[in-house]
């Protein structure tokens, strides 16, 4: 892959700016290696907490016309079990940054989970303060600037690796929350997590998801992600990782023009398979070459009038 695509974000060196998003495939070492071997510049694991969690009953995922709805309920084996996967992953693919997504039901749980993840070899942590469908964590923290600030401060005090805050779009002002995170010491933000959404089957009048309410991802939310990244770029002093509905290389370029330094991919793996990483990085590389850019860094935030 060409040098044009190399980036550095929050101190992490990536061979290309296209990352695997949290929640996708990321519960086992083997599937994360598959993502890396298919060209992901970095991988974010599924969100892990202090205790194992089975998540919600099925249906946990359902297609809607413009995207995908999910309410998994943060299933994970608990960080003390998950460290095996992190260690083996780092042994197998040392050159690609592994970012462990962590969640907690208290600031202490966030900090302890992050500490254990880093001690196992995580290159950074992404704080899940944006899951829209689990009570007392996720977006219930991420919708409150003070709570976000408290979590970031506590985690920063416990680890010496980069801390990324994954933001929820389910707020009236995403900038306010992001600022609180950055002022508390966050090294980068990821925008955005899923949008709260719902689907009802009309024949049975039943909400389809077992949890009734879930999060919308996929193509439908890309314009929301572009807007959020654009607003954040104008106002915060930290790199932004764009996430939401990236399916083709043009989507990734668009998010970067809005201000993202890197881009995450999740839902489109269902339609494109893991080949999506190569198709997006190759398309992006050709675009840069055609436009005469020497580095992908040159297009970050290019759509802003300055």
């Amino acid at each position: 892959m060409s040098k044009r695509l190399e980036i550095e974000i929050a101190g992490l060196k990536l061979q290309n700016p296209i990352m695997l998003a949290a929640g996708i495939l990321g519960l086992s070492r083997a599937l994360l290696i598959e993502a890396i071997d298919n060209g992901a510049g970095a991988v974010v694991t599924k969100s892990v907490g202090l205790q194992p969690k089975e998540g919600y009953n099925n249906p946990a995922v359902v297609h809607v016309n413009c995207g995908l709805l999910n309410a998994m309920g943060l299933p994970n084996p608990g960080i003390h079990e998950f460290v095996k996967e992190i260690r083996e992953l780092k042994e197998a693919r040392a050159h690609v940054p592994v970012i462990v997504s962590v969640y907690g039901f208290s600031v202490e749980e966030f900090a302890e989970t992050a500490r254990v993840a880093v001690s196992a070899g995580a290159n950074a942590v992404e704080l899940n303060v944006s899951c829209p469908h689990v009570k007392k964590t996720g977006a219930e923290i991420g919708q409150n600037a003070i709570l976000v600030s408290n979590v970031v401060k506590k985690v920063k005090a416990h680890i010496d690796k980069p801390v990324i805050v994954k933001l929820t779009p389910n707020v009236s002002d995403i900038v306010e929350v992001a600022k609180a995170g950055v002022e508390a010491g966050a090294d980068a933000v990821t925008a955005i997590n899923t949008l709260r959404a719902m689907s009802i089957d009309i024949e049975t009048a039943q909400p389809v998801l077992a949890n009734r309410i879930g999060g919308l991802s996929g193509s439908a939310i890309k314009p929301v992600a572009v807007r959020c990244v654009y607003e954040l770029y104008e106002s915060i002093n930290a790199p932004i990782i764009g996430c939401g509905g990236v399916t083709v290389w043009q989507d990734a370029v668009e998010l970067m023009l809005a201000g993202a330094s890197a881009v995450q991919i999740g839902t489109s793996i269902a339609s494109k398979g893991l080949r999506v990483f190569k198709s997006v990085t190759r398309g992006m590389d050709s675009f840069l070459k055609r436009k005469g850019f020497g580095s992908v860094k040159e297009i970050v935030g290019l759509s802003h009038c300055r």
Partner: protein, 277 residues
């Protein structure tokens, strides 16, 4: 959206008929254009509204008349509810999902099914048997006579084609007494088969895999794992580097060799933790 993902969208269908197969197993028939055109070995996610959504192999695939069926053993909340349903009741369907069995040019074919594993093998046998120049050896096993699935259906079908059917029961109440893997071993040691198709409990599949390795016969085995998204995103059904929902559920002997540390040994729960099989 690809055709595959179009079929993966949830729709509701009415159950048109329910058939008692054994004291613990029932078949539910429904009309659905996608499921009726599935490949043998593909599965559907069956939504029992208000209860759960579970992966189920298609046990009947009838493209001419546009219907399909799932054959379900009563084991938990969702399957109990499905057993209580009547014609006219509504279920949700996503799929067909996964890859299905690959059909080869093989001449001498062994098909081995244990328990509800017979569900996916019945439509496979009916497809394979319809082709010219095929010899089918159909082996089915269960603990006892009453639980031998599709005995009559397969007896009737095999009698019309070039093939034989042999049943085993662990208590000897029907057919040969013993395990189906013992019977397979005996047949494999005396006769050269071109391919083995297998579905059933993973311990049984693992033994069949070892036999296929030992006698150097290509294998196609259908695996089961807990599933959530069923479209290759969530990773719940992972085995080694494969996702059972998307890369499987049918795997070749070559693929199973690559995941030998997991296959037959452990699976992951919904929380991703490992449980011994």
């Amino acid at each position: 959206m690809s055709a595959y993902l179009t079929a993966a969208k949830l729709r509701t269908v009415s159950i048109v008929n329910i058939k008692d197969e054994t004291p613990t197993i029932k078949t539910s028939f429904f009309h659905d254009r996608f499921a009726a055109n599935a490949a043998p070995g593909q599965f559907v996610m069956v939504w029992i509204p208000g209860i759960d959504e579970i992966p189920m192999s298609l046990s009947t695939i009838n493209p001419k008349e546009g219907f399909a069926a799932v054959t379900v053993k009563k084991v938990g909340d969702a399957t109990s509810k499905l057993h209580k349903m009547k014609a006219g009741d509504i279920i949700g369907i996503r799929g067909p999902l996964g890859n299905g069995y690959s059909l080869t040019e093989a001449h001498n074919i062994m098909i081995v099914g244990g328990g509800t594993g017979l569900a996916s093998l019945a439509p496979l046998t009916e497809k394979v048997g319809a082709q010219e120049n095929r010899k089918v050896t159909f082996l089915l096993g269960a603990e006892t006579r009453d639980e031998l699935l599709f005995l009559k259906r397969m007896n009737t079908y095999i009698s019309k084609i070039k093939g034989r059917i042999v049943a085993t029961t662990e208590d000897g109440s029907y057919g040969e007494k013993g395990l189906i893997t013992q019977l397979s071993n005996r047949l494999l040691s005396t006769e050269k088969f071109d391919v083995i198709y297998a579905c059933g409990p993973e311990k049984m599949l693992y033994k069949i895999f070892l036999l296929a390795e030992c006698y150097d016969v290509p294998l196609q085995a259908s695996l089961e794992r807990f599933m959530r998204c069923a479209i290759g995103l969530c990773g719940t059904c992972v085995i080694g580097k494969f996702r059972v929902c998307r890369d499987g559920p049918v795997f070749s002997g070559d693929q199973l060799r690559q995941v030998k540390k997991e296959f037959g040994h452990f699976r992951r729960g919904f929380d991703g933790r490992r449980t011994s099989l």
